[in-house]
């Protein structure tokens, strides 16, 4: 093999190796930082570890909203199962009983400790996965 060609081959090889390594690191970072999305029914059928950040979407169950100082406790339902959510802070303006909501947080003994509560800015909004079931 000509020395020039050999050098070129080494360069190509090095570029391939380093980009493969870089991609590996990026994908690894991606995989460890995904937020999985569940409906209340899916939560019951799967075992979710406490330290995994998850998103749960559904409707706010009518009559379930309780307030205690700055805490708000409510249930998210998909009309089959429901799950209790505990959140400290101000819920969005569009949050109300019987409308769609998505929460981001951690499971703790069958209760979700929410870090964020989102209500979509659209009265016709349905959380994903729920549109067919209702």
């Amino acid at each position: 093999m000509k020395p020039q060609r050999k050098r070129r081959l080494t360069t190509v090889f090095l570029i391939l190796i380093s980009s493969a390594f870089g991609s590996f690191l990026i994908i690894k970072a991606l995989d460890t930082n995904l937020d999985f999305f569940f409906t209340p029914s899916e939560l019951y059928s799967q075992n979710i570890p406490d330290n995994k950040r998850i998103k749960v979407g559904g409707m706010v169950l009518e009559g379930s909203v309780k307030r205690d100082k700055t805490n708000i406790i409510f249930e998210i339902t998909d009309y089959k199962n429901s799950i209790t959510v505990n959140f400290n802070g101000i819920v969005p303006d569009l949050f109300q009983e019987g409308s769609g909501v998505v929460v981001l947080g951690y499971m703790n003994k069958d209760v979700i400790l929410a870090e964020e509560v989102l209500a979509k800015h659209d009265e016709n909004y349905m959380p994903p996965n729920l549109e067919i079931e209702k």
């Binding site: 990026i26 950040r53 802070g89």
Partner: protein, 631 residues
């Protein structure tokens, strides 16, 4: 009647742009007669489009609700300013504005360059081709000229109240100007590839245009961030929302592009990279339009879902990318440089900068698309949030910052020994290290990524202080625009680090005339009143805050209910100071009569936007100096 004229003029403009494209690519572009023809046809095409748009603005100002789009998005009660901005508050109108701006860049380029300039005819041809593609998209799938017949509604609907805001009225136009400005660079790159003469310095021709677009894009993104901060009530400046990410990607690519451009102009190196980046920047701008307008990704920004629109856009973008890539691969050989890049030269550092920016773009793209891929493969919905982006952006930005620091001592085209003991470099390292020690000692920061970020930020800051000193007092030449922009970067790094370290928030449960404390502030709930405005009712709370330093002030957060849509919005109250913002919002009233109130202390947040303004200012000044230098 007028609306039909506007509609007709737009169709006419599409036809003229198509002619312009044909003339530019079929007739011999070396013939001065052809260039004059292309130039004139283009200007007329733009004139028709502009008149069409101005008629549209006129109709919006005069509440012509015969036009379906205006009826749906404007209202007789709105101030004139918002009647105009309602045009770009939804899909059809904003697409219209987007296209007008695209063609505006083209016409400015057309009018301010001589017809004998290299590549002019073909560049105008490319711009026309892009314009035709998007005009057809507008007229066929999202026509803003549709009318309601025979009877028009009396009042019109309203624009979404969260959009009735001065920052948001100017955020889309500036952002769009930034996005589509890269069409000039893209068009020249394509024209250059078609032409195939490597001696033409297309890079120098597009520098001013690219720098100005980059500056506008920077301002546009910063405005959006500022608006979200005070309007949405969450108190953050960046949420890693997919639509923010699709604006960030062209910005990153454009930043890499303007750096690569200066290398290609100075030393004819990295020409392949530069041309590839010009294609990538524009493709990413178009990709952003696709993501926002197709509704395939769920986001606070997304317009209504419409698969037909998404498919058309994706198809057109694919055509542009395929043509560019084929041209690019055919002409690769003419671009190859015989010389190698000397190690430790400025070029070598900019190459590394390009690789880092490329990785950031790739990661962001992955973050945006991965949920789609994952759902398709595993039938499981996921989302990618801040933790992923932090894991990628923090280390890579810091590495880029360290390379930037070393690059300040490097020279163009040659390798110089940059490690030197008695130099500003080692002095900066010493000062940054010492200040890091002091910061750690007095502020007790334990997070390594914060400490490292502050270190890198101060390192760049101090190093540039030496550069400024030498520039002012020793008359040693350096590029002042580069100094300002990179100082902006160092301030950005430091303020983001301090912001995430020190900022805090708490929800309070408080009654009228009661007090509570938070971080040295006594908060007294002083007053609550109802107020009627022309298009909403408001509940305005009033809080008296007493700082531990003895200064007191009043904050008045409010909640509004708009009549037209019954929508409730939160208006934040912010006490601004250089060090921190005190930020209050009110929530719901509980059954016992008390209120939920949120208070946040946001440190260094103003500096984040200030740094963006510095970068944009540097870019605009550079563009201005280039324009003036030519005359």
């Amino acid at each position: 009647m007028l609306i039909e004229v506007a509609h007709y003029l737009s169709i006419l403009a599409t036809g003229l742009f198509f002619l312009c494209f044909l003339f530019a690519f079929i007739l011999s572009a070396k013939d001065i007669f052809v260039i004059n023809l292309v130039s004139r046809v283009y200007t007329h095409g733009f004139l028709f489009l502009l008149i069409s748009f101005l008629i549209y603005v006129w109709l919006a100002i005069n509440d012509n609700f015969n036009v379906l789009y205006i009826a749906q998005h404007s209202n007789t009660n709105l101030p004139t300013f918002y009647k105009i901005s309602s045009i770009w508050s939804a899909h059809e109108g904003s697409m219209f504005l987007w296209i007008v701006f695209l063609c505006l860049w083209g016409v400015i380029f057309n009018l301010f360059t001589k017809n004998i300039q290299d590549l002019k005819a073909k560049s105008l041809g490319v711009i026309s081709f892009v314009a035709v593609g998007f005009l057809l998209f507008l007229l066929l799938t999202s026509n803003p000229f549709l009318t309601i017949l025979p009877i028009a509604p009396e009042n019109g609907a309203d624009i979404n109240p969260v959009l009735q805001d001065p920052a948001l009225a100017i955020h889309p136009p500036i952002l769009y100007l930034g996005y589509v400005g890269f069409v000039i660079a893209f068009a020249h790159a394509i024209a250059f590839l078609v032409n195939g003469d490597p001696s033409i310095k297309w890079e120098s021709l597009v520098r001013t245009w690219s720098i100005s677009s980059w500056s506008l894009l920077t301002v546009g993104i910063a405005l959006g961030s500022w608006w979200a901060y005070y309007e949405l009530g969450w108190g953050g400046y960046w949420f890693w929302d997919p639509v923010e990410n699709v604006a960030l990607m062209p910005w990153l690519a454009a930043t890499a592009f303007v750096h690569s451009l200066s290398v290609s102009i100075k030393s004819s190196l990295l020409r392949i990279w530069t041309i590839l980046l010009s294609i990538i920047v524009f493709s990413l701008s178009l990709f952003g339009a696709f993501i926002v307008r197709s509704g395939i990704i769920d986001s606070v920004h997304s317009f209504a879902n419409d698969p037909e629109r998404g498919l058309y856009l994706l198809g057109f973008i694919a055509i542009l990318i395929v043509i560019s890539t084929i041209l690019f691969s055919f002409r690769l050989s003419i671009l190859a440089s015989k010389r190698n890049i000397a190690s430790f030269s400025k070029e070598s550092f900019i190459s590394i900068n390009n690789i880092i920016f490329g990785t950031l773009i790739f990661s962001t793209m992955l973050g945006v698309l991965y949920p789609l891929i994952y759902e398709y493969l595993y039938d499981q919905k996921i989302s990618v949030g801040a933790p992923f982006y932090n894991a990628i952006f923090i280390p890579l930005t810091l590495i880029a910052g360290i390379f930037l620091f070393f690059s300040i001592d490097s020279k163009w085209q040659r390798s110089v020994k940059i490690i030197n003991f008695l130099s500003p470099m080692s002095a900066s390292l010493l000062i940054a290290g010492a200040s890091l020690f002091l910061i750690n000692y007095f502020l007790a920061i334990n997070d390594y990524s914060i400490l490292l970020s502050v270190f890198v930020g101060i390192l760049i800051l101090v190093r540039y202080m030496f550069v400024i000193y030498e520039y002012l007092f020793k008359r040693k030449y350096s590029n002042p625009y580069s100094i300002i922009a990179h100082l902006g970067l160092s301030i950005l790094i430091i303020s983001i680090a301090f912001n995430s370290e020190f900022s805090s928030e708490r929800a309070l449960n408080i009654r009228m005339n009661e007090s509570d404390t938070y971080r040295g502030y006594d908060i007294k709930f002083d007053d609550l009143r109802l107020e009627k405005s022309s298009n909403y009712d408001a509940v305005i709370a009033s809080f008296i805050l007493n700082g531990s330093d003895g200064r007191n002030f009043i904050l008045k957060p409010e909640k509004r209910k708009y009549f037209a849509r019954g929508q409730i919005t939160t208006e934040t109250a912010i006490k601004i100071s250089p060090l921190k913002d005190i930020y209050m919002t009110i929530g719901d009233q509980l059954d016992d009569g008390s209120w939920i109130v949120n208070i946040q202390l946001n440190y260094f947040i103003r500096w984040i936007w200030f740094s963006a303004i510095m970068m944009a200012f540097a870019g605009l000044m550079l563009a201005y100096s280039l324009v003036r230098g030519k005359r």
